[in-house]
């Protein structure tokens, strides 16, 4: 556990897959400027799994959005797989699970999952089967339901399946399991780790659940708010593959407690 304001992530494999250097994002509103992120410098290793933790409104979604080239930072530099976010986006290296499911209402669940095959040049390299992915997220039998016929958690699961279907090299997930019950969440946590280990994707994962962040990731980036700054980068030195039982170990509890203390002072 290192307490640094300019965090350098331990290089898991090769150089940083996603790097942010002095990134600042400011929104101009009619009632003045809101600084969502200030001076963020961080480097995410290739095949890394990093969670973002921080109070509501601290800029987690904003950080994901600048990495995905959905927002231009007001200052600072970002690279994704050695390129600009725009190049990375255009060569379809990115997967994104939005905080809201962002399903297209005129497409059924399965059609929504198939969307990535149908735009932007289709899948790069191998791809998953939409049917299998929907089964994985527990929606077998509801493939042909329209979004308005699904529950909130079901919609979120469809959107997770959609993000995985093209096996992106960088996966940005904004509270993907927020609307799921604990059982489903645990199962999908394990599945996500399995997929991550099997495919070697780089994952940047926003969550509000401390145990989830500890269970999943190699490192947890804690952001403080007003404005969003790096509070601390916490290494999770638990060996992979991890089983759910790891959550009952003292190491796990210690890290979780540390994160909780950090968050309390954000």
């Amino acid at each position: 556990m290192t307490d640094i304001s300019t965090a350098t992530l331990a290089s898991h494999q090769g150089t940083g897959a996603v790097t942010l250097e002095n990134v600042t994002v400011t929104f101009n509103t009619d009632r003045g400027r809101v600084t969502a992120l200030q001076d963020i410098t961080v480097s995410l290793p290739e095949h890394g799994f990093v969670s973002l933790l921080g109070p509501s409104g601290c800029g987690k979604s904003t950080l994901l959005r600048v990495v995905a080239d959905l927002l231009d930072p007001s200052a600072g530099d970002i690279t994704v797989l050695g390129r600009t976010p725009e190049e990375a986006r255009k060569s379809r290296e990115l997967g994104f699970v939005f905080q809201d499911a962002a399903l297209l209402p005129w497409r059924t669940a399965i059609e929504n999952v198939r969307l990535p095959f149908q735009v932007g040049g289709g899948a790069r390299g191998e791809a998953e089967s939409p049917e299998k992915l929907l089964e994985l997220v527990g929606l077998k039998g509801r493939e042909n339901a329209y979004p308005h016929e699904l529950s909130g958690g079901m919609r979120q699961r469809v959107s997770i399946a959609r993000a995985l279907v093209c096996r992106p090299r960088v996966l940005l997930m904004d509270e993907p399991f927020g609307a799921l019950d604990e059982i489903t969440r645990d199962r999908l946590n394990e599945e996500l780790l399995r997929i991550w280990e099997a495919t070697g994707t780089t994952i940047l994962f926003v969550t509000h659940s401390i145990p989830e962040s500890v269970f999943l990731s190699q490192q947890v980036l804690v952001l403080s708010s007003h404005p969003g700054r790096v509070r601390e980068l916490v290494d999770i030195n638990l060996p992979y593959p991890r089983k759910l039982e790891v959550r009952d170990t003292p190491e796990f509890t210690a890290i979780a407690a540390h994160l909780r203390r950090l968050l309390e002072t954000c």
Binding site: A101, A102, P105, W106, V119, G120
Partner: protein, 275 residues
């Protein structure tokens, strides 16, 4: 603030948005509009009798009906050209409008550059340019179709631009992450988002195209409902004039209804859900 409002009576809440059944137009649902039309006709007949309105000012429904049945064959014969002109004009005008709207949305500069020109063109009184069109395109269907197209293209252009722009931010971001091309955004998202606007404008354009065909027939035509209207006016045959207008209006109502029906068949999803 709260106390002053407390004793206000609330008798009815907003309608239940869920479980709304998609009803198809059945005979039962048609009864009401038919009833209203019949009622209006009765009022009209009564007004004509009570106020003794002369036929040459406003004919009574009975007189219009007589004229309608006497001239039925002629009316039907002259309905065809008008129908063809309005349908083809409708198709052409809306096609051009949709293509232009797509251009405008893809290329904002084009909108800024061409929208004023479109408004400009739309304001030209058709009857003033009709002779020019007849000179350029001759006596056949062409100038009439063009006029019907001209008059039905503008609502669709305006609505379609708005509709294609009415996409929600989330969907655009999604497609952006997927590195979708502008064309793909158009076909996978904008087109669907624009459908409610498109159908509204098609309903507007339906009436416009009929009117356009009729007005076009006032110049350079020897057939069609517009031609009949001119003749009936010139001959002071008001019953025939009203009979012809009735046929034209029924045509427009059916056209309008048909578009509503197509809309119900096409838009089967619930667009406003937070997905």
């Amino acid at each position: 603030m709260s106390t002053t409002l407390t004793d206000r009576r609330i008798t009815e809440g907003p309608e239940l948005p869920v479980q709304k059944r998609r009803r198809r137009p059945t005979l039962g649902r048609m009864l009401l509009p038919i009833g209203v039309v019949v009622g209006l006709i009765l009022v009209w007949q009564l007004a004509c009798s009570v106020f003794n309105i002369p036929t040459y000012i406003i004919p009574s429904p009975v007189e219009v009906w007589q004229s309608l049945s006497e001239n039925w064959a002629m009316l039907m014969q002259n309905t065809w050209p008008t129908l063809i002109e309005s349908v083809l004009g409708f198709a052409l005008g809306n096609l051009v409008a949709i293509l232009l709207a797509v251009l405008f949305v893809h290329w904002k500069l084009a909108e800024r550059a061409l929208m004023p020109v479109a408004v400009f063109i739309r304001t030209i009184p058709i009857v003033a340019v009709a002779p020019v069109l007849v000179i350029m395109f001759g006596q056949g269907y062409t100038p009439k179709i063009l006029i019907a197209a001209l008059i039905s293209f503008f609502p669709t252009l305006v609505n379609m631009v708005k509709g294609l722009e009415s996409v929600d931010k989330q969907s655009l971001e999604l497609l952006r992450v997927l590195s979708a091309s502008r064309n793909e955004v158009l076909w996978k998202v904008r087109m669907f988002a624009s459908l409610p606007y498109l159908f509204a404008s098609l309903k507007i354009a339906a009436g416009n195209s009929v009117i356009g065909a009729i007005v076009a027939e006032w110049i350079g035509s020897q057939e069609g409902l517009g031609y009949l209207i001119i003749q009936a006016t010139y001959n002071f045959n008001t019953p025939l004039l009203y009979a012809t207008m009735t046929v034209a209006s029924i045509m427009a109502v059916l056209f309008f209804g048909l578009i509503g029906l197509i809309e119900r068949l096409v838009v089967t999803w619930e667009a406003d859900v937070k997905a």
